[in-house]
Symmetry: D3
Subunit: 295 residues, 6 copies
């Protein structure tokens, strides 16, 4: 279970409120590269983890830290909105200075949240859990988590660049440092789990005839691959030499699908439908067999 | 630009059509760990890539390969649906054998696609691009891509385990091998871009007072961290030793937000609203300043 | 069934068209607090209602009224767009006055709808039915509906504050008045259904050992709860006194999950996979039992 | 900030694992009436709250409790999946007993999460924050929260009815009791904030000509409203008598939109387009005015 | 505005309730080819229509009819759920007959809607307005509407095939007949608006050098296009002969993007960042120019 | 399978980069009327096509062309972003000229994509496959595709109108010409498949008593339908005369649903729940019957 402490994980100070920057910060809350994503990603990975307890502990501990980051960023959004104009929007249109501010402000910050943060991104798109990776494979999760932190740290660095506010720069520098730690810890765990950097999942080797495709770059373009390209002519992280297939081989034949069953109403080229949904093809035969079994 | 060749990238053969397995395969087409995700992830990363051309070429070449994988899996879905029952659903309810098949079949395969594949996952949820990582940072992208392939290879391995059909096992073994290659190429590129495994983006170092937070594990739980936990007591991939903060420090103070502006209708505790949207607080002052500027 | 009358439910008059305000109005059409939500919420609640007819009638009657509110707001959006610029966007960038207008205008109003309303919110996010509450429990629905109207009336009040246009102020005042009525009618029905304000669903009482948790505030924070806080030290709306658990009790033990089954590819710590998907654990035993039954 | 304790908020015990029930439990995690919704709803409402501190404290404390409920339910899902079959799906089709289990099992529990919980609902639809109400108005939020708990308690009661497992019944009885408390606390706060039960937001009264519409039931149907219907012929919760408008009045005129601007390509009935986006109508005049101002 | 009549648009009769068929019917309510799509599509097209009134009238009249179709299908869903089992789900797993029914039943019909219809599709995916076409171009809308009806009529025909229930067959036959009318009316209007079947929008002709691409089939594959293929070698509906470009021409050069700006943190290959967000490239120059203008 | 050629399908040239226009172009990439929609629509229709090979070939060939259009537009977005300001957003607020640009710029182009294109629309909403029509009926697909191209061509025409940049005008003129060809080819195929323009699916005729509803306009409004309205008083495209039902007939009776089963917790009006989920109504009887069968 969890408990809340009123002290924040880090001081949030806004020297000069800026509603445009509040909008930008939302991307770090509810965007696919934001804190709601990593918080939920680590939480669900941790709550479903069945392996050694140390990984589960790390996942849940860092998930908990990320809830606190949502708190930090939401507080920063709320503080930046304290200077937001509420002038009638007719002014917005005729007054370039107000217009500029309103033009860039997130309408939902006023309309939906009454000058508070919202569970969405910089464009007001509600958070969608489709961005969460939870493979159930620890090694895959560690690398996916490192990627998520790298993407998130890039976003934080861009946000820091976009502001001159000392308080905001301070907060973002702290978050950037934490992203460094998180990257490092996921990478360290990935290395512990898979020191030879074999393909993940490691217990699923490529064998027999398929092994030839497991370290071969398929070049799906016209120009030759340069000699110094590692992933074509060098050695893979697991020590196996890469090969190149140039152009990419066509290993299959033309696709050939069975004619359309009439009940799919596939167009004038199919036969007339059988209102019972049957037919003479494979479907009808299956139905007959089923009928026999269940008499 | 692109061209299509009627030969498939690999032979698709279904020995015994199985509509339940068709449903399972959809996860590898339109799920967050499926081919539509990686195809679009590599395509958009490649089309926006501004660095050395070799990375762009690799991204676009593998994106192109993934379109062919969508083709392979869609063909496999269509072939597995060729045995789907079309008996009236009243039978479905009273006949356990038919019921079992229909119960597990994806309704949209018949209702929406007429026995064809659909751009969604194993639950019929339409593909949503929120799962796509496109950071614009090459090193972050390479690690995120490796994570995506690891997650995808785990899915393919599970799918192979779920079928005894030799044709499906053959196709999935091929896709698993290709996922090996893709993992290896993204990891090789990540290493080439960031051989010292510094935090990404590498040009954003942690400095000054923030450096202390950049390699410190914050333990957000009650129990002590064991001594042999690398991410607390070992060395990070970039060579810096980890430290531990136990319990996690509370570096901030209580959050303190400005009182609610009346026009936000924040509840009875706020003062009466000013129908002009003004007020005496910071908002009113801003409005006054704006009025002066724009007279 | 339904019929349409060309007269609007209320006069829509726009004295000075304003495309920025058109964008704001969209939140009241397709946002989670907008008319598409309540229209569909009441419609689906009503069409599924199985209790006394008077509730069903009220739900369907008010759902019908809300379709007319969509019509009012869409008409208002269309009229506000009549002043929208269609100047080439190069002008947008170099001309601050035009830019200000265009910067705040919703691009889809021109690009997708050709100067018409769209089924989305103030940020152009398409309406998503995930915001609709349809519990199938009349009393719960009445309270959820009252909440939806309160949220919606708050939005309408903000919108009225944002405009000086007399026509728009008139329309929004009408909609605000109707939201008053709708709040009152849902609250009246909630009271009729549950005059003692017991927990909903009322036919599911808390009994035995669980009753102690049913009126106890769990304080998940460090500081003491003040004496005058009703929900900790006062009396609940159903007449039962509240108690406080401070700090929140930890009623469970550490979670303990079974070791990872090999076929889930849970990482290097699991045993090698069994390609048949079996194993020696509980899964294997279940499979054996199943095999016996179905021989 | 937050901390995690390894003890659960309540004991999770599964006497007989049941993957179909695991799927049902997902609705209480990631569905619109689930814990992810209320956890985020209270968290964002609390982090944006600007009124008296006691409301903010309550919101954040209960939000924290709900994170623990996500933990409880995810653990319950994971435990129920321990009996899930991993037999090849060909068996699924030919063996009705296995088929029945697999037919009702959520494919993503194996395919995406490797026998763990996932951030989605009972149909595998990813959680979407569009279901979250954050109005920024405390009184509206309290009623919306009570509605959310009522909807959630109804779901929990249905889930308890669906299982005979003593452990699951115990857990759900605990959650039902907590939902009672949460309902009561939100209702108590709503009453404290708005003891006279006036329309929310209370500081936005209906005045003048609009007051007549604020307590009038508009009957959008053919049949007369019965005399004993409170919301038509009784007294509203704020003490004002209801009136009825039967049939619903048509207060507006026919909508009348300006002719289509040519650059909107509105069909053959519009005049030929002006490639400059101009025209002779209101748009052109605005553009002229703008040009003069900005010269 | 709208009014509701308690008589349904057509009789809904369910001879033998079937919860599996209830699930199937949901696709016709909330799926991309369902009634919520067409109802909203016609409603928003009509409410934004600025051309001759007869088109607006038709759109709104048929939109109104479609609300009644939602009512018909929701009633049919509710009636089909009257036979749904509510046995504890433990039985579901051990009892194949119950399991079969439950396996195919939509969990949300019980869990979320309490045996009522829901605003989603056959997989429980909430309706999403992204499926709605509202181009603002009347001729385009008419053809898109005809397509939507054709897709919907195909779905209705499949649903009728799936049931033996005389009541359901009767209802679906009625809906199929109405889809015929709707197809015909949109096609008739499309023909009235664009009798020469020129490209839509008709006021945007292809001229000059571009005309050569306007009736040329680009063959993006290896094999020759057969002689009798109309769209390559025949005559287009507007009377212009088709030509073929085989293989598809490569009319552009290789893409060439500017080097990455440092502040985008594009990876190690970019120069070190400028914390002011400036630089020497085009961005810096723009910033300088801006600074001059606004001094 | 597919291959990529570095030459673009057409030259992309941006004379004067414009980040506001980059945002507008996104609608043509990831909006419901954009290239991601048609690319996936044709791809999935083609991969599931079971009829004559010439249709499948056309669908896959044009799908391939559309991937190249995504490439063209993404390249155009990236080039238009080359002039985007990266000035700190504090400047944005105080400097109207910068503000204007930033106000209209898509935040994710910098924050998420690092000055690259993204898989979303002009409002930053991620692409959602719910907009894809794949009916599995060839004739329906051809008309739906024609509609999609008409909608898309309308968008392209608006985009061309919004820019004065010669390069962008050139690119959009090319795309408009290609949309002409695509419209013509889908219309030609629709005519080939259904020369008599009967209702689609053509093999599902309206018969018996239903035929009277198949060519009857139902007028759901108060005013009379003018005599010259084809869809009421003229002849349908299939040669059958239209009739009019004025007002729309009420062919059904009032809906009548069975009383609420107690286990649905439908509110105080239902009887007390049976914790076993049984009851005396139809549900209990079904359960009894099931118990007998499975003894």
């Amino acid at each position: 279970m969890f408990s809340h402490h009123k002290e924040l994980a880090y001081t949030v100070r806004v020297d000069k409120p800026n509603p445009v920057f509040a909008r930008m910060l939302q991307q770090a809350i509810g965007g696919p590269e934001g804190e709601m994503r990593v918080m939920n990603q680590y939480l669900f990975q941790g709550l479903g983890a069945r392996g050694p307890e140390r990984y589960r502990d790390m996942l849940l501990s860092t998930a908990t830290e990320e809830i606190g980051h949502i708190e930090l960023l939401c507080t920063a959004v709320a503080m930046n909105l304290e200077g937001a104009p509420a002038a009638a929007s007719d002014d917005v249109v005729t007054n370039p200075l107000v217009a500029a501010r309103m033009g860039g402000m997130e309408p939902k910050h006023l309309l939906s949240a009454g000058m508070g943060p919202m569970p969405g991104d910089a464009d007001g798109v509600p958070f969608n859990a489709a961005c969460i990776d939870i493979s159930g494979n620890l090694a895959a999760n560690m690398v996916a988590n490192a990627g998520a932190e790298m993407v998130g740290r890039t976003l934080a660095a861009r946000l820091r660049d976009l502001t001159d506010d000392p308080g905001m720069k301070d907060l973002l520098s702290f978050l950037i440092a934490r992203d460094t730690q998180h990257q490092m810890q996921w990478l360290a765990a990935a290395e512990e789990l898979n020191p030879e950097r074999r393909a993940v999942p490691v217990e699923v080797p490529d064998e027999g005839e398929y092994a030839q495709h497991a370290h071969a770059f398929f070049a799906h373009h016209d120009e030759p691959v340069p000699d110094d390209v590692i992933w074509a002519n060098g050695t893979a992280p697991d020590g196996v030499p890469f090969t190149t297939a140039e152009p990419a081989p066509r290993l299959g034949e033309k696709a050939s699908l069975q004619g359309a069953p009439p009940y799919a109403f596939d167009g004038p080229e199919s036969t007339m439908p059988n209102s019972q949904g049957g037919g003479d093809g494979i479907v009808g035969k299956v139905k007959e067999a089923v009928d026999q079994v269940t008499k």
